[in-house]
């Protein structure tokens, strides 16, 4: 479901750079994320995908350039409030081991003063949406399977009904069977909710499956941006073709 109306973009990256110890993790990257669309960040390991996502959620501040959310730049003053409108899911889930699944999901809402009834209702709604078993809600993260943890992490990110979801390899740690199931469920959820989604993956097929737009990165630089077809049909440079071919060969090798 591509965006129908041309609202202002949900995110706007303007010439963003971030350097760690003299190494440029992200170098002069500019692109927009359209509201209601799913954008996938892809590229080889270490190319700066996670760094870019952290810049978008304000965990990092750019050395140069500007990250805009809605129509304002993210600043130290507004970042905490803006985060309540973003849901962030990281690779291993990042669940709090000292809290039950239920408390992981409801922590922020309770802190913001939601009533107990409202918290319970929302938690049940989300566990139905993500098909998380109700009896798992009162277990601790170590008592859950990897797929269940991933669902809790997603529920936690969705609790405050954020405008955008930022997901760093949300399916990376799962075995292929569960992964395929969850891919489908996730896409259904995104469609149902109509949220803006930014997702990191290094699997091109996953990128194609989810992405309205794909942002291909290499060594911190944006190589090409557009729908999957444009990457195949009009590669911006030789690397794009190489990357697509390498992914297809890896899959054929795996399927054989």
């Amino acid at each position: 479901m591509p965006p129908t109306d041309e609202l202002s973009p949900a995110f706007e990256m303007r010439d963003v750079s971030k350097t760690f110890d003299g190494v440029a993790a992200v170098a002069g990257v500019s692109f927009n994320v359209a509201a209601g669309s799913t954008t996938v960040l892809i590229g080889p390991s270490g190319c700066g995908k996670s760094t870019l996502l952290r810049l978008m959620v304000g965990l990092l501040t750019p050395d140069r350039g500007e990250v805009r959310f809605g129509d304002a730049p993210i600043t130290a003053a507004n970042v905490t409030a803006l985060r309540h409108r973003m849901g962030y899911v990281i690779q291993d889930g990042g669940l709090f081991p000292h809290l039950t699944a239920r408390r992981n999901v409801s922590l922020m809402a309770s802190h913001l003063g939601w009533s107990a009834d409202r918290v319970t209702a929302r938690t049940e709604e989300l566990s139905a949406l993500t098909q998380f078993p109700a009896d798992g809600l009162d277990r601790f993260p170590t008592q859950l399977s990897g797929g269940q943890r991933q669902r809790v992490s997603l529920m936690r990110a969705l609790m405050l009904d954020p405008d955008v979801l930022l997901m760093d390899e949300p399916l990376g740690a799962l075995d292929p069977m569960i992964r395929a199931d969850l891919q489908q469920e996730l896409r259904d959820i995104f469609r149902t909710l109509g949220k803006t989604v930014v997702m990191v993956t290094h699997d091109l097929r996953e990128a194609r499956y989810f992405g309205d737009a794909i942002v291909l990165l290499r060594d911190g630089r944006l190589v090409q941006e557009g729908p999957f077809g444009s990457l195949v049909d009009e590669p911006a440079e030789a690397f794009v073709g190489d990357f697509v071919r390498a992914q297809q060969m890896a899959r054929e090798g795996a399927d054989a």
Binding site: G94, F96, P97, T100, L107, F140, R156
Partner: protein, 503 residues
């Protein structure tokens, strides 16, 4: 409220004057003593004389040493104790160069301390021989030894090594003896009893002089400096409680050497409580009656336990209040962390007893210096474990807490502290168990606790008394461990106990 201000003023004045009257009628006097039996008996004597003169008297028994008592006297934590002229001139007044009795008295007066005339005995280094052996050779003074060069001499190791011990004695008296050896104190007495050695060094009022029937040889060429016993008391006593000052002066010249040796022997060898020994002396010498209360074993245990717990709990509570926030700051700022860990680490390297003594000029004696020293000792494990506990939280957990939009305060309270709790509790437990042990040193500064019977037991060579302190201290350490294991259940989330590591 504004009903009758005049009445209120009147009532207040009445209350104040009543208070002043009772204060006058019941002046509180505190006497002190050093950690050896003779001085403890004398501290008891002073307290009983003060009580007889109408004061409410208390005796702070066996405080650590000369410095501690002198500081306590100057600060007014104690009002009087028995000191020795040699110690006054060589340790306390060493800078002033005062040596004669009058010079010492004048130097003390300048510091607001009154010194009485000598009590009648001189507790200095001396040489002793078995009475029958001395009589056989006709030896009464140290110079007489010169005519008996083949006698065996056996001195305590300390006396052999000290410059003012054997080397000085040999040179001063030109002693020709070849057979001289260093021995342990107890072995020296046994050796002299069995005739293996003929002469040994001793303190001139040692209880053993009577027990082994020794003759003390006269220091006829005046080698050893005099250590005349005197009472030193604060000069404000002469206005505050003149009857007490007068009572102390009654002791002048009334405690001859034989009397003191006898009292030491009763306390050390016959194990009669010092209070009883002092009371008997006062009854026979001054016809003064004083009450002797001997606590039961259970009463002592109760008193020591509550004093010990007070020290540990107050120090630990203050330690937690300072160390946990410090650990949190240290976990956030690399430099601040290194400074905090460095400083608290240095504190741990100061020997416990030294730390205790250093606190006395600041806060006096009794519980405060002990609590302060224990507090300083408790910091390192708690700061380090709080800092480590927070730092070892996985980056992904920290990131998701921040990305959720928790403010840094809420993140600390809801995520970081609960996750660091096992580590923090472990630090508090280490500190608590350490403090239970260290608190036994509180007895050196009059803070009481399990160290009190241990100190007395060491002084009197009484293994039972040592156990009376050591066993409950070990028990309390175990109980402390247990309390923390239980506390862990309440304070650490089940989610963390399922998997001990948070990493």
């Amino acid at each position: 409220m504004k009903g009758s201000p005049r009445f209120a003023v009147l009532a207040l004045a009445l209350l104040l004057s009543l208070g002043a009257a009772t204060a006058l009628a019941q002046t509180a006097i505190t006497t002190g003593s050093k950690a050896f039996t003779e001085n403890v008996i004398l501290g008891e004597l002073l307290a009983r004389l003060a009580a007889d003169a109408g004061a409410v008297a208390e005796h702070k028994t066996q405080l650590g040493g000369t410095r501690i008592l002198w500081n306590a006297l100057q600060r007014g934590d104690i009002d009087a104790y028995v000191e020795y002229t040699g110690t006054l001139s060589q340790e306390i007044l060493a800078d002033s160069g005062a040596t004669t009795e009058d010079e010492i008295r004048a130097a003390l007066a300048a510091q607001g301390i009154v010194m009485t005339r000598p009590l009648g005995f001189n507790n200095t280094y001396a040489l002793g021989m078995r009475e029958d052996v001395a009589a056989e050779h006709g030896i009464t003074a140290i110079s007489d030894l010169r005519d008996h060069p083949d006698l065996d001499l056996g001195f305590t190791n300390e006396f052999m090594d000290r410059g003012d011990g054997w080397p000085a004695l040999r040179d001063h008296y030109a002693l020709p003896h070849k057979r001289v050896r260093g021995l342990d104190h107890d072995l020296a007495y046994r050796g002299i009893e069995q005739g293996a050695i003929a002469v040994t060094d001793l303190y001139s009022t040692d209880a053993e002089i009577r027990y082994y029937e020794l003759r003390v040889l006269r220091d006829d060429l005046s080698l050893f400096p005099p250590y005349e016993a005197v009472v030193v008391y604060r000069s404000d006593l002469e206005h505050r409680a003149p009857e007490v000052a007068t009572a102390f002066r009654r002791l002048e010249g009334r405690v001859p050497e034989a009397e003191m040796i006898g009292m030491n022997a009763r306390a050390r060898l016959a194990r009669i409580p010092e209070g009883r020994v002092a009371a008997d002396f006062l009854a026979t010498t001054f016809q003064v009656d004083s009450v002797v209360v001997v606590d039961t074993w259970l009463q002592r245990l109760g008193r020591n336990t509550s004093a010990h717990l007070l020290l540990v709990l107050v120090a630990l509570a203050a330690g937690i209040a300072i160390a946990v926030p410090t650990g949190i700051i240290a976990s956030r700022h690399e430099v601040a962390g290194q400074i905090a860990l460095g400083l608290t680490g240095i504190l741990q390297t100061v020997p416990a007893l030294a730390l205790l003594v250093l606190m006395i000029p600041l806060v006096g004696i009794n519980a405060p210096p002990a609590i302060l020293a224990l507090f300083l000792y408790s910091l390192l494990p708690m700061v380090r474990n709080t800092c480590d506990g927070i730092r070892s939280i996985p980056a992904s957990t920290w990131e998701s807490a921040t990305a959720l939009g928790l403010s840094s305060g809420a993140r600390l309270r809801l995520v970081e502290l609960p996750l660091a709790m096992p580590s923090i509790l472990a630090g508090v437990k280490i500190a608590a168990v350490q403090l239970v042990g260290f608190a036994t040193l509180g007895a050196f500064v009059g803070a009481g606790g399990y160290g009190q019977p241990i100190l007395t037991g060491i002084r009197l060579d009484d293994f039972g008394l040592i156990l009376e302190g050591a066993l409950p201290a070990a028990g309390l350490a175990l109980v402390t461990q247990g309390v923390f294991e239980l506390g862990e259940r309440g304070l650490v989330s089940k989610g963390l106990r399922l998997r001990p590591e948070t990493g």
